[in-house]
Symmetry: C2
Subunit: 314 residues, 2 copies
């Protein structure tokens, strides 16, 4: 443990309030979302994807997006992030005052059409329009493209490396600050993660963004390790692994934040997150979504005997 | 996928019939063990820890050890392995005709005493005696020491690297063919796995044996990846993650063979194991242990769309 380090070496980007909550049928009451987000902040998380801006008739779980953003903005030092699938969503998010937008841009043409009814070329046009709007009304806001299905697609099967690199390159050319790679379907393996991040970085360099891994086949942490090995320093994950994958009954979807933080902290890689306070943040999640399964091996097993973590926040 | 490779590049050493079955209360009937072992062999597993030779009053699950060995020996090309905690067990195993012995030798003095009521020095003496007996009555048999609690101990807490390296070195000096490192308590992290295997190899070189990882805190596969990265090529795992850890209710114990094979095969690292036949081997396991939880993310999620694996056996 590098006890003298004061700055986190990796950024854990918590996606539970967006990716998690929109994957479950139940709608978490707005007040419960506030309490849960407060608990995530208390644990030291400094980037939280708090909602998506999409029509409430499609995702009633996200109907209170603007309210949730306003609440999250009361926490100084926290990057408040929202997912937006198009210009309309981006405008709403920017008007609500988010610090960062993330746009799902599939490497798989089939997935892009199924997910947001656009061709990949149309999505690149959307990104260009979103970046223009950002420049105009909120120039300080960061824009990220999350390259979905970067490691395989449940609709079209294999996704070529070239398609992933192309999509990341186009997104950056269209003006995004970062392009990350998402294992939307839980098909990634560590060799592929290393190869693809290296290929993408060779083209977009320092615009290379987060690793967004799923645990569908149990490889979530191994894939995060692989990404870390090739220089990735931002990792998306979800408290309690919320965001169960419909293709994996009983299996968690997103990488579990608690396990990811445990892995890095045990390795001596500072996350800035206090693991005990983080585990305590499961209580408001459970309260806000009664009966919903919540995953996580580390919380179930408990911290190892003799475990000492530098406290955060100080 | 290296479709042209005919030899496995890693050896998956299945420990379910020993480590798994002795961790559950129920006793699998001998006939069911035979069917399950046959199914494991059919999947391409070429090293199986089929039992331990310990007093039946302590482990009634292993009372049929000699019979199980005799059955496993009917499969040509399979290394039949047994765990033995002492000379008496070793003699019984050698007389039964095993190909390989594994001896649990804790790096933690506290765990060694709790587990087999010996000091570490006494265990080294036992190993020496076992190797002598092997030389005398079954010179072709391999002897492995599994360095237990190599990554931390639930009794004493931290285990120093020096203790692990010392124990591995002493075991090799006492005549074992291999010394592997076991994360008995699920406390390992990838940085530690890389560091310790490198330190151990610096002392015992090609005698460095298997990585035996647990999934207690969800890091099992990440730790296997880390071990692979530093040259480990033998991995212990258990079908269905059998071997639940008492410290992790609902959490699997050993690394799940199905997920481990999926990770390596997806990476293009040949295991020699056919994943579909392997998943089918869960049926006899479940039949022999009705009601016992069986884990595995890959079997729950299913193989990815478009998955193609070179067939094995041919």
């Amino acid at each position: 443990m590098k006890a003298t380090a004061t700055q986190p070496e990796v950024l854990i980007s918590e996606v539970g309030p967006r990716d998690g909550l929109q994957s479950v049928k139940a709608v978490m009451p707005t007040a419960d979302k506030f309490v849960w987000i407060d608990a995530l902040v208390a644990a030291g998380l400094r980037e939280i994807e708090v909602c998506s801006f999409v029509p409430a008739r499609l995702l009633p779980q996200m109907a209170d997006a603007a309210e949730v953003v306003r609440h999250a903005l009361t926490h100084p030092g926290v990057t408040v992030m929202a997912l937006v699938p198009n210009l309309r969503g981006a405008e709403a998010a920017l008007r609500a005052g988010v610090h960062k937008l993330t746009i799902p841009a599939s490497a798989s043409a089939a997935h892009m059409m199924a997910n947001v009814r656009m061709t990949r070329e149309q999505m690149i046009e959307q990104i260009r329009a979103i970046v223009r709007l950002r420049d105009e009304i909120a120039p300080g806001v960061k824009v990220e493209a999350g390259i979905s299905t970067a490691f395989g697609c449940t609709i079209q099967g294999e996704v070529s490396d070239d398609d992933v690199v192309w999509m990341a390159g186009e997104a950056v050319a269209a003006g995004v600050d970062e392009a990350g790679l998402s294992d939307t379907t839980g098909m990634a393996n560590p060799a592929q993660v290393r190869r693809l991040f290296n290929k993408v970085r060779a083209v977009i360099g320092e615009h290379t963004g987060a690793a967004h891994m799923h645990n569908t086949r149990g490889l979530g942490l191994a894939n995060c390790l692989a990404a870390y090995d090739v220089g990735v320093r931002t990792f998306d994950s979800s408290l309690g692994g919320l965001g169960g994958c419909p293709y994996a009954p009983g299996a968690s979807g997103n990488v579990v934040t608690e396990d990811l933080v445990f892995m890095f902290e045990a390795m001596g890689v500072r996350t800035g997150v206090d693991l005990e306070i983080l585990i305590a943040a499961r209580a408001p999640l459970k309260k806000g979504l009664p009966g919903e399964p919540v995953y996580g091996m580390t919380p179930e097993a408990g911290l190892p005997k003799g475990w000492v973590q530098p406290r955060w926040p100080a």
